[in-house]
């Protein structure tokens, strides 16, 4: 695994003015993606954003509730050509992975147990480092079954 986990990228604490354009870009894209997935303005959307150099990755954890359907979507800026999204168990085993949809990977998942899951983002293609990304975990409602 060539990717380097970059912890500092998980939150934008001191983003300089020069970088705000790309940050705004991914936040707007994430907002549009969330609206496209769930037009009813869902509550409790978990959002994370940051920046990664080519082939770097970042992971964060979020609690997903049993029986609740979720869509996990990631977006990135104009210089990014490929983004990978992986859902992990607490023991870091892969549950689902989306690596084929270039810059808008989306996962759908309904947990069988309420617990903390890992979400890993890999910057698979970035022409001008660093590339900004944003991830949104969107609750879609209870599973009818």
């Amino acid at each position: 695994m060539k990717a380097v986990v970059v912890l500092v990228a998980t939150s934008i604490v001191t983003t300089p003015a020069v970088a705000q354009r790309w940050q705004r870009q991914v936040e707007e894209r994430a907002q549009r993606a969330v609206q496209a997935i769930e037009p009813a303005k869902p509550l409790n959307v978990v959002k994370r954003s940051g920046m990664l150099n080519l082939n770097e990755s970042v992971s964060f954890e979020t609690t997903l509730r049993q029986g609740q359907r979720y869509a996990i979507v990631a977006v990135c800026d104009d210089d990014c050509s490929r983004l990978e999204l992986t859902l992990l168990t607490p023991s870091r085993s892969e549950i689902a992975k989306e690596a084929n949809s270039e810059s808008l990977p989306t996962l759908h998942f309904t947990p069988s147990t309420t617990m903390s899951y890992g979400i890993r983002v890999v910057m698979g293609g970035c022409r001008w480092n660093p590339c900004w990304y944003a991830v949104a975990v969107v609750p879609l409602g209870e599973n009818p079954l």
Binding site: K2, T14, A17, V18, L54
Partner: protein, 389 residues
């Protein structure tokens, strides 16, 4: 025995003439102590140890101050070109505005606008020496704190102003006598200009440049540092200066081979450090040597990457900059030519290829040829009169 004597005389005469031709009769005069290869007198081990410790302290101090600058930095949300901070003294407000205006035009001149990696330029105005119980802080070395050392989007350049530019900035001297301020500021951006223009380099290019202390990427501008006047080319590559050959002899073999137009030498000089898969330290502080032009592997290496970028265009340069392929492959792909071939042509644009190998003086060569002809005539004459009894 009698027939042998003329041949001995001829042989001795030939040796004498040869010696006269090739050995200066009064011995060669020393050209004086070379400023490039001369060694300073060795200090005692204790003194050397103290100097090494002081150097280590200065480097650590430079890194610490850059990190402190980053922490205490307040960025101007409306400013696209580098944020400028003065340290050591406070220049008058109009001087600050002037510096910002000059920097804005330098930034535009480099073709830069809004960039992913921003630059902060810390101008260190000259201050009195430190107290006697600690080494003098670095006041004459340019230092850079690359992105990823503190956050991902800021490159900090620390630029010592020295007495000349300090006087200028503090308004102590008539500004009519100060030229080249814009070039000085532009040169001070160093590797930060590359970070701003092309972002953080990929793993391969990053570790290659770190291994050679960014000597190929010290200057992004087109006309050369200080408008050619003070570039490494003017200092080391001008045959009109008496120290030119001293400088040539101080270079590594690959650099000399490249100066002679040899492609293999150019390739070796460019790719030095490319095979190292070294890790880039965090924080990554680039400290430029005081006399950086003396430790270059290519002449004028400081502008090499800038020239590559201008030649191949932004897209192809970005392909190289972030490539996961070996530097040799990625650079050749961007140049669309072998690295050695392109670099040899580039080098020829600055320095007329020097001649390598022995080059006897014209007079000595003529004398040697004359002797050879004389010997042949004597041998031929002797052979024609030879009698077999």
């Amino acid at each position: 025995m009698a027939p042998v004597k003329p041949w001995v005389a001829v042989g001795l005469t030939a040796c004498f003439v040869l010696a006269l031709a090739y050995l200066p009769p009064r011995g060669a005069k020393s050209s004086g102590k070379s400023i490039f290869v001369g060694q300073s007198p060795q200090g005692t081990p204790a003194r050397q140890h103290a100097q090494a410790l002081a150097e280590e302290w200065r480097n650590a101090d430079a890194a610490l101050r850059l990190l402190e600058d980053r922490q205490g930095m307040k960025e101007d949300a409306f400013r696209i070109s580098p944020t400028i901070i003065f340290r050591g003294a406070t220049p008058p407000p109009n001087a600050v505005r002037n510096v910002e205006t000059v920097m804005d035009s330098v930034w535009r001149g480099l073709g830069l606008g809004e960039t992913k990696v921003g630059v902060t330029l810390v101008i260190e105005l000259q201050r009195p020496s430190g107290s006697a119980d600690s080494p003098t802080p670095l006041q004459d070395r340019v230092a850079y704190l690359t992105p990823d050392s503190t956050d991902r989007t800021t490159c900090i350049a620390s630029l010592p102003a020295g007495p000349y530019w300090t006087s200028f900035l503090l308004g102590k001297r008539d500004t009519r006598y100060f030229g080249g301020f814009a070039q000085w500021l532009q040169a001070g951006l160093g590797p930060c200009a590359f970070y701003a223009a092309y972002g953080t380099p990929g793993r391969r290019a990053g570790s290659w440049l770190a291994a050679r202390n960014w000597d190929l990427g010290l200057y992004l501008g087109a006309p050369g540092i200080a408008g050619e006047r003070s570039s490494s080319l003017a200092l080391m590559g001008d045959p009109r200066f008496s120290w030119f050959w001293d400088a040539v002899y101080s270079f590594p073999p690959a650099t000399v081979a490249c100066l002679a137009g040899r492609r293999s030498g150019c390739r070796a000089a460019v790719l030095a450090g490319a095979a190292d898969e070294g890790t880039i330290p965090v924080p990554n502080v680039i400290l430029v040597e005081r006399r950086w032009w003396r430790v270059q592997l290519l002449l004028p290496g400081e502008r090499y990457l800038g020239d590559v970028a201008r030649t191949v265009g932004r897209n192809r340069f970005l392909d190289f900059w972030t490539s996961e392929q070996p530097v040799d492959t990625a650079l050749a792909a961007a140049l669309k030519r072998p690295v050695g071939e392109w670099t040899a042509d580039w080098e020829r644009g600055f320095v007329r290829p020097i001649r390598l190998g022995p080059t006897p003086p014209l007079g000595a060569a003529a004398i040697a040829l004359a002797i050879a002809v004389l010997v042949l005539i004597v041998v031929a004459g002797a052979a024609s009169r030879r009698e077999v009894r």
